[in-house]
Amino acid sequence: MKFTLDWLKDHLDTTADAETISTALTAIGLEVESVEDQGKALRAFVVAHVVSAEPHPNSDHLKVCKVDAGTGTLIDVVCGAPNAVTNMKSVFAFPGTYIPGKDFTLKEGVAIRGQVSNGMLCSAAELELSNDHDGIIVLPDDAPIGVPYVDYAELNGVVFDISITPNRGDATGIYGVARDLAAYGLGTLSPVDGYMAPVASVGASPIAPLPQQFAPGEPKAIRKFAGRYIKGVKNGPSPEWLQRRLRAVGLRPINALADITNFVSLGWGRPLHAYDADKVAGTMVLRNARPGEKLDGLDNREHELDATMCVIADDQGPLCLGGILGGERSSCTDGTVNMFMECASWDPDEIARTGRKTGIVSDARYRLERSVDPALTEPALELATRLVIELCGGEPMEPAISGDDVFPNTIVEFPTSEVRRLTGLDLPEARIIELLTRLGFVAEGAGTTLQVKVPSWRPDVTQKADLVEEVMRMEGLDKVPVDPLPRLSGVAPRMLTTMQNRRRVAKRVLAARGLDEAVTWSFISEAEAKRFGGGAPELKLANAIAADLSDMRPSLLPGLLAAVRRNENRGFADLAIFEVGQVFLSDKPEGQHTYATAIRAGAAPKSWQGSAPLSVFDAKADLAAVFDALGHDIGKLQLVAESPAWAHPGRGGRVQLGPTNIIGWFGELHPAWAAELDLTGPVVAFELDLDAIPEPRKKPTKGKPALKLSDLMPVDRDFAFLVDRAVTADKLLRAARNADKALISGVEIFDLFEGKGVPEGQKSVAIRVTLQPTDKTLTDEDIEKVSTAIVGAVAKATGGTLRS
């Protein structure tokens, strides 16, 4: 909310300067977003006379102007504003001037479509005085040429912009801000009694109190509706002081009646609405909108209404969307003669709901959904009446009032020890009472517990903790002594769960293997989600930010592949990236799993030392490394040579712990999908479900079994088998290893060969078997015996024969 220092001083008698006030506002929770000295920022802009405005020879919409800015020479300026005409007064910026609304500095002697332009005629938006882009500022004919515009328009004030939290409806008017500052000790609050006192009526209201037509159980936003008919007004531009006030805070003056409503809304936080009473057809009522009803709003848009929205309507339909937006049909114009002023109280929740539903952002909604002071409904109407009569003349009729305000009249049982309990700060009871009293709370009672009555403008205060906050705000949070949090134990206990630690380890292992960690969106496109078995309705966003970010991901691969694609577009086709992150297998908490997923794409780095091309075994090695680093025995992993759906059917596998517990997949990306993504090089990947790996049984640290070392030398023996191509290495190795479990300590494949010398359809697999004797040195006979057993076992399992 914007307000000027001058305006604040209407309500606060203070000698504090802008900086002191700014610091205080922030300290009491009315955060200052900016403090601007308009006089300084806009001093370079001057009043100028547009001596002539001729059509631009090379453009339909531009004009070539001769401008007198008081320098003694006429300046050539090209102007695009439709309202630039000969012999007008406007605001001019010389070259070199910074234009705040455009965020640029004007250049000297630019040519616009062949015509020289030495400066700029400005709109209010360009000066950041309002959102008015509709044309250049039009000044009265008597505006003095060459004088700084800020001096002429008296825009030399300090403008504060504060942000108001949703609980502080009371601070949405400058009066409320002043009240808080006064309580903080920055001056004295000026009383409202004088200008809010009742204004005598001249007769009965031609508009009857508005009947509130709501069926039981219907949403009902209206609480109290106070209206006043004022007869015989003369509308038109409001006086300069009022226009200036509004302009300074970014509002466009409209006409006196409209300006009065804005003035009261900003000044006291009580939104009003002015109706042209002669445009009301029949009886004004309060009711919910009927199906199909629409409102032609003052925001120049048509709004569809529904039965949950309260409207002020006449015989022809809605005049106004209650508490949110006025309608065009009954709006006041310069020709308005009889007017009806509304000041109403509304249910903040209903206003918020309707506001959200319609998406209308208005000053009235902003205030009313935060709640306004119910004690001001009629006083604010009196104030508005007084202002109308002062500025537009006319005769007020009796107020027309229906419904009741809601006063919570909260009384909080407040043990003053709460302040110390929640903040750690020791404040004497007298001080606590003083601070609360200054804010308008009434503290009664003796002893350690007070009965604190909450003022009408603070419906947000309902319990003890709220009062502690009020005391803290006023005392100052910097007064709270810093106090160490005591340790709960000597050495901190373990912080991470097994799962959290798995994620940490998996990331570090993959980075150590040369992969970069990526973090990609949790949502992917529907097509990608479906490819991975996702796309269930409950995992679909109702309001996705983009069409390709619509579904919660069932896999990390689509995000990583998209990243590969982006990198390839930038010229980096060779990539190794991973992500350790959440996937969503259902919308339940237990459906959220953490996967470690990695992709290697493109060519392996070329080296003079030689390099192997990327293959599925790189992905398998990555998977194995993570599994091993998580403290699990790689030998326990079962490998099933069945590709996941995303992989080449002949180049992928699944890893399991036991017959049913699938923990991961690896493979080479299916060529059809690679082609779809237009990826040139080979792409290999693995996925490991960290949640599927069982937790180790909970045991305190246990010792490792004693290490048994043999004094006897191990012996190696090599065998080459000819087996059918389809025989898996796993099967062959398992057979060899199991030929003599006691003696054989290791089996390695050291050569694989197909081609010359090997029959068609077969392959040669060479293995090295390590024999580790434990009690005696092996004799040739012993070795012969085990070799026969190995050959026999392999033959039995695979049909393989020893290669001669």
């Binding site: 906050e469 709270v480 991470l496 970069d516 960690e517 309001n543 919660m552 919308d587």
Partner: protein, 376 residues
């Protein structure tokens, strides 16, 4: 011919042959010809046996002298030849050691700054005795809003730009959590409803001291807002923790995190539905240069929100606010990373641009610990 002559002749002959040997094989042939079983010097030695004792007295030392002399000369020559051969081999074996080696994988892989900062935060709070709690990204409206004291229809809900999932069979819409605060609820409920059952973390016994880092979502996108980002929540619940201790925890954390001797914090009253009193915290910093320097300067930078856990939140979790109390705070992990390491575009965090990851990422073994330093 006298023995003397024989010795002199053999010496000349053998010395010449030794000098002429060009490799170890040639030298060995000389050795065999002289000192071998049938060698010339050995033959001469053999004549000693048949000599008269008188003659042997003079001939013995002379012949043995020759043998020793030739043997020494052969050894010397052998050493020379081996030296020369080694020199030749060394010269031949010279390699261009400036050739680049295959890069070790550890020089290539990088940890994302979010993970790094996550680990840094974990290290610091671990020392203060906190545990990590987690909750799901897909939340119910109750955990994300209602339990946290967001009244139905309250404008504060709207400030959250919530992502909704498609309504389920019962018509209720789940949400993507807009903050990590639902984990407060999950942790407290779990502490209260023993034994624990649920997601990821085990039972939290009071007193509760947890941090809850995680992914959060808001329907928002520009240079400093992305629809997905990361937050870390902190929660302390016991029977006495107050704002003074909250100040201490945050000051100590920020000092440790930014690795500066001191930070100055400004606590401003603010509003969050789930805390009362509520505060926003600004950290003093210097923004005059290209990068923000924490712990110096005269600017203020908003860094987190915090407060005493709202009595309604405690009630919603079955805790009596007259018995239990505590504080909570929340801050952006991505934002902390940007401040500490000088990135300025949040969107780049989620783009996986290799150049960005290589530049801003961390090495695998650059593991943040308190004993080794948060950043190396």
């Amino acid at each position: 011919m006298s023995l003397q002559d024989d010795i002199a002749r053999l010496r000349t002959e053998l010395t010449g042959a030794i000098a002429a040997a060009t490799d170890e094989a040639g030298l060995d042939a000389v050795r065999v010809a002289a000192l071998g079983k049938k060698g010339s010097v050995s033959a001469l030695l053999a004549t000693l046996g048949s000599m008269a004792p008188e003659d042997r007295k003079t001939a013995g030392p002379a012949i043995n002298g020759l043998k020793n002399e030739i043997s020494a000369a052969i050894d010397a020559r052998g050493a020379d030849l081996r030296g020369a051969a080694l020199d030749a081999r060394l010269a031949a074996e010279r390699l261009d050691v400036t050739l680049p080696v295959k890069a070790a994988p550890t020089t290539e892989g990088r940890i994302h700054p979010i993970s790094q900062v996550w680990d840094e935060i974990t290290a610091i709070f671990s020392d203060m005795g906190f545990k990590i709690a987690e909750g799901p990204d897909i939340e119910t409206d109750w955990y994300n809003f209602t339990a946290l004291n967001f009244p139905e229809g309250h404008p504060a809900r709207e400030m959250h730009d919530t992502f909704f999932l498609q309504p389920g069979p019962d018509g209720t819409k789940k949400v993507l959590r807009t903050h990590t605060s639902p984990v407060q609820i999950r942790s407290m409920l779990r502490a209260n409803e023993k034994p624990a059952a649920g997601y990821l973390t085990g039972a939290v016994e009071p007193p509760i001291r947890i941090i809850a880092p995680g992914r959060t979502y808001r329907h928002d996108s520009d240079q400093t807002h992305t629809p997905m980002f990361h937050q870390v929540e902190g929660l302390v619940i016991d029977k006495e923790s107050h704002i003074g201790q909250l100040r201490w925890v945050l000051e100590e954390f920020l000092k440790a995190f930014f690795e500066v001797p001191g930070v100055t914090l400004r606590f401003r009253p603010s509003f969050f539905p789930f805390t009362e009193p509520s505060m926003e915290v600004d950290v003093q910093c210097d923004r005059s240069g290209a990068e923000v320097k924490i712990g110096e300067g005269s600017d203020w930078l908003e860094i987190l929100g915090c407060g005493m856990v709202h009595p309604n939140v405690l009630r919603n979790c079955g805790l009596d606010p007259d018995v239990y109390q505590g504080f909570a705070w929340g801050m952006g992990i991505d934002r902390l990373a940007m401040l500490k390491y000088g990135m300025n575009d949040l969107r780049a965090f989620f783009d996986a641009d290799k150049r960005w990851l290589d530049h801003y990422g961390f090495k695998a073994f650059d593991m943040p610990t308190l004993f080794g330093g948060l950043s190396s």
